[in-house]
Symmetry: C2
């Protein structure tokens, strides 16, 4: 399938799940919205769970490039700011939150792929920091991302609170500096 | 209403949301399960959102006592372990995850109350640490809890990964010790 056509299908999928929730997402609806035949979509993605899983990882809407600012601290701040944008700026926020709620209730929708894919790209920030001598080789990048990204999920999605100015910097400082 | 009766209603509410999700939760079902008249339930909680909101905060099933181990570090480890139990041990985990998914899609179900209530109780750990001189008075307890509790949500619910042994200790150490 042409990459552009594929992106149109992913767009339609993500918008539909953001608007109607996972229960309201249908391959028929995606077909109509993207102008692609339903059977074509099924040929590539055998279920709506597979379609949404692919869209979460491969859509340009949720595209993610790891920062390379020159220092570990400011790379981490940039990573946290990316999670902030994902969770607070539409359409990303509607999509992320709807897809999360769906993934929690429907394990067949493999949201782990989304997080695993993001973490695979975030790793480079830690590898560079170790090479530059800013981070011990024994540090645990997954744990550090759990703490930092988790803080943004916690504050925005779970607590339903606004993010104060400088949240990313303060979160990174809580981790890197002593109290 | 007698406290014991109220707990039976909350139990029925939490079990029903864990089993059937928020969409499957009905005041009729809770009435049947708890043996309380439907109109009585409505007199106390005007909607199923109000009922679930009250159950999340007031049920003994999700009861929470802040730890008091004598040191800030081990209090924090105990707090993280409580979140771990909440998110990994049934029935708490089924309830927490189902209620979260519901809260995200139904803002009228005020999940903030649950998190606000927990944080109000967690605060004492930080106040004691400041009094003992283990923590600066300018530290931000909400941010620290966002980082620590968020890490558990991230690893278990969002990434869908098991918690390794010693996760709580490592998370606290990442925060309190330098890398």
């Amino acid at each position: 399938m042409a990459p552009r056509k594929q992106q149109e299908i992913f767009d339609a999928t993500l918008w539909m799940v953001a608007e109607k929730g996972y229960d309201g997402l249908t391959v028929e609806g995606v077909a109509e919205r993207s102008g692609v035949n339903k059977t074509t979509i099924y040929r590539w993605w055998p279920s709506k769970a597979a379609l949404l899983g692919a869209a979460l990882v491969e859509s340009d809407v949720l595209a993610f490039e790891p920062p390379d600012t020159g220092s570990f601290r400011s790379d981490l701040v940039a990573l946290v700011e990316q999670v902030e944008r994902l969770l607070t700026e539409p359409p990303g926020s509607d999509i992320a939150v709807a897809a999360l709620a769906a993934a929690v209730r429907h394990p067949e929708l493999d949201a782990r792929r989304f997080f695993a894919d993001r973490f695979a790209r975030e790793r480079v920030v830690f590898e560079r920091a170790v090479r530059r001598g800013e981070l011990s080789g024994s540090a645990d990048p997954l744990l550090i991302m759990d703490l930092l990204a988790g803080a943004v999920w916690m504050r925005t999605v779970l607590r339903g609170m606004p993010l104060p100015d400088g949240f990313a910097k303060k979160a990174v400082s809580a981790l890197l500096d002593t109290f």
